[in-house]
Symmetry: C2
Amino acid sequence: MLANQGATAKIARPTTLRESVFEAILELIIVGNLEPGQHLVENELADILGVSRQPVREALQLLSGEGWVDLRPGHGAFVHAPTVAEADQLLAVRTLLETESARLAARNSDEPGVAQLRMLCARGLAAFESDDVDGSVAANSELHAAVTALSGNQVLAELTSQVARRVRWYHTPVARQRGRASWDEHTALIDAIADGDEELAAEVMRRHTEHTRHSYLEQRAGHGEESVSAPARRRRPRAAATS
Amino acid sequence: MLANQGATAKIARPTTLRESVFEAILELIIVGNLEPGQHLVENELADILGVSRQPVREALQLLSGEGWVDLRPGHGAFVHAPTVAEADQLLAVRTLLETESARLAARNSDEPGVAQLRMLCARGLAAFESDDVDGSVAANSELHAAVTALSGNQVLAELTSQVARRVRWYHTPVARQRGRASWDEHTALIDAIADGDEELAAEVMRRHTEHTRHSYLEQRAGHGEESVSAPARRRRPRAAATS
DNA sequence: GGAATGTATGCTGTAGGCAGTCGACGACAA
DNA sequence: TTGTCGTCGACTGCCTACAGCATACATTCC
């Protein structure tokens, strides 16, 4: 028998080429190297990534399934150009899903689960106060994921994470400016979950996500842009959502 | 200038082979010709459907995206075997999404929208009373889709329709036994939407979907089966959901 | 000069084929 | 009899090639 493989268990997962391509293209979209509406020519991507067209095609279809690209039959793939209205709708759905997650999390909360939430919250707050933006962002994502996991509803958790990932693309520039308040709200949320107060947890989460939504809309209101991800173009956003 | 082309505008949409394959395999799964857990060999499907492996592969990945099949890298595709717990979670999410849809529909309802709802409801009720199961089922789906469309939230509508489609697979045998009550609830729902009573519409929809969920769970409770779609195997279910 | 048509180019959709890999089965040894 | 190893078969993942179609441009006709 081999030695402890715990550390390698995760990377031992046989990763296919199309998944790598999926991640690579998604990164290009989020970073802004690929502009909204841009035509993604399969051959070009294949050449850039050093693979054939086949895994590129499959990756593009995966991306289409999550709403990152639009697939027009006979015309190929285009980077999805989100409108302000769509972003607003997405944020509304996010609020709905996460609010329910918080409610269920309060209902099903247990000792180790709450402990993990507090740990993630402490880590995120520490990262925020030491200006570690990446760390803060990562902790935020993990915290929200942990809440949905606590809900006990796997389907809800998957849907939520998928929506949250798309949301992160949109309001990335917004979130950083309200980082401190965000972490205070996280603390209140965890308290409510620990108390098993379903209604309070739901209300706190609802207000928490709506704050982000309103910040986003206010910022967008003045611009009057149709494509909401324009400011993310061309340069790598160092900060991401902390909602 | 040519004559009126309105009738041909719709079929002009270029449908790809992989979409046809997607529909075909989905049909095989829903009908029960493909049993949960069954290994879907690409070559076999390609032979059966008279196409090459490529569109089959792409269709399987689409199916995976919607949760119909599980893709294990290096092993291929397997028909998803849903558990009772998963079906329950799915029904819970469906309730959440449709309840919000109803609330928003009441908020945004307009004259033509309500008129369409009433038309669909009348058609469905007529079909039900004349034992036209297929017609009743179709009207039911269209009615729910129309409600989500009225919500004005496209993202919510897409998510809801996707979840609803999966739900239909599970509780197909359950729904027919409460067809009449279901249509009465539909009428109450439309009234609430027409009145613009958000809370009432939401509550009616919540109770409506929860009815289905409880019926489902009660039926399942006695069986103690792990795979919930077992009863749908091997023969074509003539009736489908009217929830 | 403008419009319609022919032509060229580039991309997608699909087919066929090859190598790598996983699992099953049987032989062999303890 | 049981555990282990090697071989075989089958299937997946990926690559290359071809056909169809749409678009853009050049050409010809009115």
